[in-house]
């Protein structure tokens, strides 16, 4: 499942914030490890400034149904069962087999991502990331 998360996260950031693509691997490690072993500098600001990858990965994990119940619930609130099933297909059988998302489904995903990122990033950033997610899903459904 990590492969799916890595690929879609990279594609999402490539399409929305290309500068931050390099942060995906470390963000995935943090996501898997629950933030343990973070370096704690002695003379620092004490304020964590997370790269966008740290926000995108849990949202994508929720969309694909590979996250904990709490994250998944938040991420899939705005999704219908049909869209969830399509996303599960995209997760397991990417490419033409799963089929493309309809405009309504893309809107559902857009709203779901914006909702999940509420309060974590600025609204404009959330919308840009949501567009990035949709772009990444389109690429995945095209087998790219």
């Amino acid at each position: 499942m990590d492969t799916v998360l890595t690929e879609v996260s990279r594609q999402t950031l490539q399409l929305s914030y290309p500068d931050e693509v390099d942060e995906v691997e470390a963000a995935l490690r943090r996501y898997r490890g629950g933030g343990r072993g973070k370096p704690k500098p002695p003379v620092g600001m004490g304020v964590e400034l997370l790269p966008l990858a740290d926000y995108v990965i849990p949202v994508l994990a929720g969309l694909f149904g590979i996250a904990s119940a709490r994250v998944a619930e938040r991420a899939t609130d705005a999704l219908t069962d049909r869209t969830r099933a399509l996303l599960a297909d995209l997760r397991d059988r990417p490419g033409q087999v799963a089929g493309p998302l309809t405009p309504e489904q893309e809107r559902e995903v857009f709203e779901s991502v914006v909702l999940s990122l509420e309060g974590k990033v600025r609204p404009a950033e959330a919308q840009r990331l949501a567009n990035g997610v949709i772009g990444a899903l389109r690429m995945r459904s095209n087998g790219r």
């Binding site: 390099d22 704690k40 002695p42 400034l49 966008l52």
Partner: protein, 691 residues
């Protein structure tokens, strides 16, 4: 937005901070503990030879010298004989401290590099970051602009490190999306750390905390070898083993206390860096950064006391406070008292043997006490005096600091690593009386310091560093000296002789001189001078009348009793002034009472002196005693009475008619002089002062 060219308060980077003193205190404690390790190593390697040498010096002495002069000469001979041996012991102790310091400096150079190596490769920063730092650095008076890097992906929070001459600010990738205000706050906060010297101080403290355990383990090596090679475990020397266990426990306690204090200092420094950033114009960005954080989760106790940063909620509240002084509470005061006392009890391992046979060999206690006093002055002293400057009307009684000192100082006496009995030659610095006298003396000095601060602060435009440090160093140095030497006097004398303490102790002339200087200082700070001088005049008049009307005591075996009663009566006149002022006006006029009491004591003493001028063979020599000893007795009395300051009500008191002060002082002065004359036959006297 932070910009050096923008108009705004520039004083934020120049205000001296008491947390700087806390760093000095922490580092001194760790280095001084290293000196004890050096002493232990000396005992391991040269202990037998040292003991044989001391025995040899003892053997050359006459067990019963015929005269006092012979005893004194013999003592000098013993000191001359043992001095070379003792100097070697002191050199070993200094070597222990120097090893800890050298290792710490080495670690200070290595640890940041190791941290960066573990973190990963640094990346070039986006172009707007160095440009922003170029604008921000001059606002913090930085002569070298820090280099800015984009941190590795693993990094989540900005930090500063220094590998060479140029400080380096490492910013995480998440800051790329920061607004200009937020970026200015991030870089401003780090620049504030650089300006305050935190980067070096924090890594040096960390280096010391690593170095001390490494060095402290060394004396345990021979013990381990000795245990392994013991042929028969049934005859284990348990007392010796217990000593080593005690040594390990004390060291662990010290390191834990050092860790907790380091974390507290670190949290206070974060507040200071936030305050400096806000004052330089970065408040909006800082508030945005702290405000966007999720609500704080209540952390477990261990994490709360070891956290290097305060909670977001605390930081948000702090940048909105007008005074911007870092939080400084009773734990800081208690730990400062504890660690300064640790230094008092441990530096003795160096000063005692190191100064034997030198001209200052008799002043070891004074030197140790001044060092401990300086440490209190640069930590608590600065904080109390600066706080008084911010809010002159609050905390005049000093209840919290007095209680904190009463709690911290005895713990410091008990837990100091230097008190371990494993070092053989030096023995214990303390006796049980010290656990009472030192805390009480330090607590009294605390009450006096807080009171003086509240009189001094309103007259100052901005808080300085010189006056608070000098006044508190002298005050606390004397308190530690009086407390530790006083304990010895208490052990050696009966209660009837306690009134003699202030005149037969080595600190008497120093206390008298310090009291004189304090009186001049208090005169400059005081208002209502004529009223206080009238109060002193009342006390002088009452003491003189009571003394002249009462019959002169004639006590067998104490030909100088009359002179002693004069001396104590003069001191009582001054004490009467202080008591009258405290009872009628509370803590408010305590500072004024300091000079008024000295005027009363010197005035009464002069009156007694002039009355009996024709009776003495050496009137000029006696005048010296009249000037020095009554103020010394008065100083001791004032310290004791100052302990009552925290008990005075903080609430608004009904106004007392000013004219009541002189008769009240006269009444108290007359009563005390009469009482002294009345009980004169039950008191003890000595010929020391009057021969």
């Amino acid at each position: 937005m932070i910009d050096a060219a923008a108009p705004g308060p520039r004083s934020h980077a120049r205000v001296p901070s008491p947390t700087g003193g806390q760093y000095v205190l922490l580092m001194t404690v760790l280095v001084v503990t290293g000196t004890f390790v050096g002493t232990l190593m000396f005992v391991h390697v040269f202990g037998a030879a040292w003991l044989a040498g001391i025995h040899e010096c003892h053997a050359a002495l006459d067990p019963s010298p015929p005269t006092e002069a012979a005893a004194f000469a013999q003592q000098q001979r013993f000191l001359a004989c043992s001095a070379p041996l003792e100097h070697r012991r002191a050199a070993a102790a200094i070597g222990g401290g120097a090893t800890v310091l050298a290792l710490a400096v080495g670690l200070t150079l290595v640890l940041p590099r190791v941290f960066l190596w573990r973190l990963g490769k640094l990346r070039p920063a986006p172009s707007r970051w160095p440009a922003a730092m170029d604008r921000i650095a001059p606002a913090f008076f930085l002569t070298t602009t820090p280099r800015v890097w984009l941190g590795p992906s693993e990094l989540l929070e900005p930090f500063t490190v220094q590998r060479g001459r140029v400080p380096e600010v490492i910013v995480p990738a998440g800051a790329r999306r920061a607004t200009d205000d937020e970026l200015a706050a991030i870089l401003g906060h780090e620049a504030a750390h650089v300006a305050a010297g935190d980067v070096r101080l924090v890594w040096l403290t960390r280096g010391l905390r690593w170095a001390l355990p490494i060095v402290a383990v060394l004396p345990l090596g021979p013990v381990a070898v000795w245990l392994v090679t013991l042929p028969d475990l049934t005859s284990l020397p348990w007392p010796a083993l217990w000593t080593w266990l005690e040594y390990v426990l004390r060291t662990v306690v010290l390191l834990v206390a050092a860790g907790v204090l380091a974390a507290r200092i670190s949290r206070a420094r974060e507040h200071e860096a936030d305050a400096a950033t806000a004052a330089a114009g970065g408040r909006a960005g800082l508030a945005a950064l702290l405000g966007s954080r999720p609500a704080d989760v209540r952390l477990p106790f261990r994490q709360r006391i070891t956290a290097a940063h305060p909670s977001y909620a605390l930081r948000r509240r702090f940048i909105d406070r007008p005074d911007r002084l870092p939080p400084y509470g009773w734990p800081d005061e208690m730990v400062a008292g504890l660690l300064a006392t640790t230094v008092l009890a441990t530096s003795y391992q160096v000063t005692n043997p190191g100064l034997v046979g030198t001209p200052v060999g008799g002043w070891v206690n004074m030197i140790d006490s001044l060092l401990a006093g300086a440490l209190i002055a640069t930590t608590c002293g600065l904080s109390w005096w600066h706080r008084a400057h911010q809010d002159p009307g609050k905390g005049r009684q000093g209840r919290r600091p007095v209680l904190a000192m009463l709690a911290g100082v005895p713990i410091g006496m008990l837990t100091a690593v230097g008190q371990t009995r494993g070092d053989g030659p030096s023995g214990w610095y303390i006796n049980w009386w010290t656990l009472v006298t030192v805390p009480l003396a330090v607590a009294a000095a605390t009450a006096v310091s807080v009171c003086l601060a509240h009189s001094w602060a309103p007259r100052r435009r901005r808080p300085g560093r010189f006056v608070p440090v000098v006044v508190n160093t002298v005050l606390f140095g004397l308190a530690f000296w009086i407390g530790s030497v006083g304990a010895i006097t208490f052990t050696r004398n009966e209660p009837a002789e306690y009134l003699l303490i202030a005149t037969v102790s080595p600190w008497s002339p120093f206390l008298a001189v310090a009291f004189g200087v304090a009186a001049v200082f208090a005169w400059r700070l005081s208002s209502r001078r004529w009223l206080l001088l009238a109060t002193a005049a009342g006390a002088i008049g009452a003491a003189t009348v009571a003394r002249l009307l009462a019959p002169r005591p004639l006590i067998a075996d104490a030909p100088h009793a009359d002179g002693w009663i004069d001396l104590w009566s003069a001191a009582a006149a001054g004490l009467a002034v202080v008591l009258a002022v405290m009872l009628l006006t509370g803590a408010e006029s305590f500072t004024g009472a300091l000079y008024a009491s000295l005027v009363a004591t010197v005035g009464a003493s002069a009156a007694f002196y002039l009355h009996g001028f024709g009776d003495w063979a050496f009137p000029m020599a006696r005048a010296w005693y009249v000037l020095i000893y009554p103020p010394a007795v008065l100083g001791t009395g004032v310290l004791a009475v100052a302990l009552l300051l925290p008990l005075l009500s903080a609430r608004h008191r009904p106004a007392v008619p000013p004219w009541l002060l002189p008769p009240a002082a006269a009444l108290l002065s007359g009563a005390m002089t009469t009482a002294l004359t009345h009980v004169s036959s039950h008191l003890r006297y000595t010929a020391v002062v009057f021969t």
